[in-house]
Structure formats: structure tokens, C-alpha cells
Amino acid sequence: MSAAAQPTGIEEFLLAFADDEHLMGQQHTEWIGVAPFLEEDLAFSSIGQDELGHALMLYELVLELRGVEPTDGSVDELAYFRGGEQYRSSTLVEYATTDWAEALVRHWLYDTIENLRWQLVAQSSFAPLAEVAARAQREESYHRQHARALLDPLLASQISRLRILTALDVMLPMAFASLSPPAGESEAIAEGLASGSVLDLAGPLTGAVTERFDTDVAAPETIVADRRVRSADFAPLMSRMREVFDLDHSAVW
């Protein structure tokens, strides 16, 4: 099976981004119908679509590198049917929450980091990746505007400020951990696919958080996280995502 093939360094590098986008989009789908107001239901369904779309494009790049034609079937094989140890997602996007404050703070943190990550590949020597980055960056500016437009008033009100800062305490360590360089990154940098390491994004992230949340934060001295290891929330999440597929693996849905 193509999806089970041992990935090369470059593929690992792309899968780390693709898996993050996939699971972030997936997490957004959980808020449809239960957000604080209708406009937020709309925003999360739209942003969720964008993130899944980015994942789709990145998975397609991995398949092309493998010489596999990207079809709905081959993309889904890669997106849904690797063993847990083959996923490269960060804990930030695996984390399950039913708290809107955490969901909103994660949305802002993830999109802030995502934008910086796209910048690292915007001038990629791998032209299809640069094209995906250009498209994604246009959408991402709306995502960040959306998160900002909610966070600003919620941080200004005494009713909500503490909830948002409490959520930040929970989410920020995961956000920094997501900056641990994925396998294949050094190869990607050496080949000009990426212009720098995600590790270098810790400084910009710290600055952005300090400014947005008006609170002192410091990046951890060392960022150690292994994207080959899954968090406790991954298995239930994946089982939910595969539930219909699991009814009959020979079926086309």
C-alpha cells in the first residue's frame, strides 16, 4: 500500500504539515452547531474547510513525490489509514476540548504558527509547494482576522479575560511543542524546500502572544517534542474519523 511506504525525509516534512492541517480542520468541525452564535458556526465551518483543503493539497504533494496519482482514494488512504506511529501531527491539534475558550485560543495560536510556517516555504525550490503556500496564505489572513476580532473584545472584558488566559495557559505549551522540528526538516532546508527551521518561530510566536494577550510569556528554553509519538486524544479522534469507513473497507462512500 502506498500510504504505508516508508516516507523519505521530504515526505516526512510535508506530512507533519499536512497532518496538522487535517486534524486542525477536523477539530473545527466539532464546533458546528454548538458555537456561541450562528456567525461562529459559519466561521468554523468555513475555516475548517480551508484547513482540510490545505491538508488535501499537501497530501497530494506527498503522493506526487511517491509517484502515486492523487485521487480521492489515494488521498484518503494517506489521510486516514496510516498506523498511529506513522502520523506526524502535533499534540496541539490532537488535543480534544469542549471548552470554547480553548478552541478559540488554539485557533489563534495555530493560525499564527501556520502563517509563519507557510512563510518558510513560500519561496520553496519545490514550485508546487510554493503555489500551495501562496494560496493558503491568502486564506490565512482571514482566519487570523477572525480570531483577532473575537479575542480582542474577550480579552477586554472582565467576564471573559480570565477564561481566555486560563485557556492560553493550557494551549501555549502545546503551541511551543509544535515548533519542534519535524523529521526531514534539515533535508528540506538543505534542498531549498524550506527557508528555515520551525524552531526559529518560537521568538516570533512569543512576541505575537505577548502583544495579543497583553501578558508576559517566555518561550521554553528547550523545545522537545516527538511528532512520532501520539497523545492520548489521538486514538479516540481517529476512531471517530474512521467510524464510517470501518463499516466496510471495500465500500466507496
Binding site: 468541525t29 452547531g33 465551518s45 468555513s46 482540510l52 464510517v244
Partner: protein, 301 residues
């Protein structure tokens, strides 16, 4: 009222700021409020399955559809609120308190993925047929304009629903059994969505909100879906179903309206859970709305 009805009979269109009889205002408002509530509760029925949609591209289409549906609810609540009977928050509070109505079909739970597809196929078609009939001759201008957009988007949803249904119908035994079970659960609720035969003095017909009688729309749906489901080899859960050779029409036999009546009194199979969950979700995020209200109040004009 006579002069107003003459105006409506002559094709007159009522706008939000126009004078209108109070009975007309209340009846049209109640109709639009129920439509808005149904879009919202329909989204909640589907949300149980959206995260489980099999496939990345498939999930993106389902999200796009959901985004449309919630968008319809959003527009409908605006149109309803502009009638000055209730504000949007009042409508939502009433909905979550179990005090207002939404379509019978959303008092049932989607228990399998097959149900999700059956809703997109059978229920959406029934809802679309009703909306088209309202759009055709609707005397309330703001509603008519919104319906135009809703109907054009619902047309895309129908094709998505048909496409998904066909993949299942032409699929494996597991898929076909799953969908047969869903037809067994959803055929009657979808048919009952049209309601019992219209009364001779139905005000919504007289005031040009509805343009066709319930039984006419219901029968048209039966004539389309019974042969279509048969053609894919599915059975219809109607013991008295027969084909009348004389009229070339399908007849589903007597219709039991008790299940519909129960849903109107919030006593459907899933009404209590549905309303309680919606209400709990609403309350759980009350702090967001309160904080935003406070923030907007402190922003200098």
C-alpha cells in the same frame, strides 16, 4: 382585511416597513421563525455525523453544505426579526426552552451515516419542494428574496445528496442494508413533513404565502421517490403501498399523523434530548455573548 386581501390577490408584495394586518404579520412571522429554527435544528441533527464524514474531499463538501444551511438560518432569523414580533435572541431563547416549533424531521435522531444521507436525499427534497412552492407566489417580499437564494443553494445540496445516495445504492451489501434501514426510519417522517391535507380556509394559502396545498406537494414527492427508490432495489416501509393502474399513480395508503402531532408538542422520539442539548450548548457559551455585549457597550460610538 378585505382591501389587504384584494391587494394580495392582485399580486401585491408586502415589505417589512409596510402596514399590514396584525394577523398577517403574526402568521408570516411564525412561518419564517419555524423555517429558521428548522435550518438550525437540522444543522444540529447533521452535526453528529459531520466529523465522521468518510473522506477528506467528501468532508469539505459536507462542510460547505452545512455552512449554507446555517447561513440560511442566519438570513431567516434576520428577516423574521425585522417583522418586529421577536428579536433573534428571543427566538433562540424560545427555541432552546422548547417553546417554539421546528420541522418534525428534526425531532428524530440520525443514528447512522445512512440516516445522514437519507436526510440529505429524502428530507432535503421534501423541504425544497415546500420552499419552491412558497417562493412561487410569496406575498412577503423579504422572505421571497431570501427564498430565491436558499432554493438555488438547496439545488446543489440535492445533487450532493443524490450523488451520495447513488454511491451507496450501487455499493456493497453493507452499504445497501445500511441505507434500507435508513429509508425505513426516514420515509414516513419525510412524507409527514408536508403536513396533513390543507384546510379549506388555510390562511397561508389565502395570503399567498403557500401557493400549493400540502397534499399536492406531498403526492408529488411520493410520485418521485417511490419509483426512484424502487429502481435502486430498495423497499418502501408502507404496508398498504399500491400502484393505481387507472391513474398511473402510487398511493401510500392511510397516513398516521400521530407522530407529527407529537413532534409539534415537542414529544418526538428525540425532541427532549435535542432541545436539552441545544439549550446546554447555548448556556455553556453564554459568557462569550455577555462579554461581547459588554465590550460593545463600552466602545465609544
Amino acid at each position: 382585511m378585505d382591501a389587504f386581501e384584494t391587494f394580495l390577490d392582485g399580486g401585491g408584495i408586502v415589505e417589512a416597513d409596510d402596514d399590514m394586518p396584525d394577523d398577517y404579520r403574526r402568521a408570516v412571522f411564525a412561518f419564517i421563525e419555524m423555517h429558521a429554527n428548522s435550518e438550525l435544528m437540522g444543522g444540529l441533527t447533521e452535526r453528529d455525523w459531520i466529523p465522521k464524514t468518510p473522506g477528506l474531499r467528501h468532508k469539505m463538501s459536507v462542510l460547505a453544505k452545512t455552512q449554507d444551511e446555517i447561513g440560511h438560518g442566519h438570513l431567516l432569523y434576520m428577516v423574521a426579526a425585522a417583522m418586529g414580533v421577536k428579536t433573534r435572541p428571543q427566538m433562540l431563547e424560545d427555541l432552546f426552552a422548547g417553546k417554539s416549533r421546528f420541522h418534525n424531521v428534526f425531532h428524530y435522531q440520525a443514528v447512522t451515516w445512512g440516516d445522514q444521507v437519507a436526510i440529505a436525499f429524502l428530507v432535503d427534497a421534501a423541504a425544497l419542494a415546500s420552499q419552491q412552492a412558497v417562493f412561487k407566489n410569496c406575498s412577503y417580499g423579504p422572505y421571497r428574496r431570501i427564498l430565491k437564494r436558499i432554493i438555488s443553494e438547496e439545488g446543489f445540496h440535492m445533487r450532493l445528496g443524490e450523488d451520495r445516495m447513488m454511491r451507496i445504492a450501487e455499493g456493497t451489501d453493507v452499504q445497501r442494508q445500511l441505507f434500507q434501514d435508513s429509508i425505513d426510519r426516514w420515509f414516513w417522517p419525510a412524507l409527514q413533513l408536508f403536513g396533513p391535507d390543507s384546510k379549506p380556509d388555510d390562511k397561508l394559502l389565502r395570503w399567498h404565502i403557500k401557493s400549493e396545498r400540502n397534499e399536492v406537494l406531498r403526492d408529488r414527492w411520493v410520485q418521485k421517490f417511490v419509483p426512484m427508490l424502487h429502481s435502486y432495489g430498495f423497499t418502501i416501509p408502507a404496508d398498504d403501498l399500491f400502484y393505481d393502474e387507472a391513474t398511473n399513480q402510487w398511493d401510500v395508503g392511510p397516513i398516521d399523523w400521530e407522530p407529527l402531532k407529537k413532534t409539534l408538542a415537542q414529544g418526538g422520539p428525540d425532541s427532549a434530548r435535542r432541545i436539552t442539548e441545544a439549550s446546554n450548548n447555548w448556556n455553556r457559551t453564554a459568557w462569550v455573548r455577555e462579554a461581547l455585549e459588554q465590550a460593545s457597550a463600552t466602545v465609544p460610538a
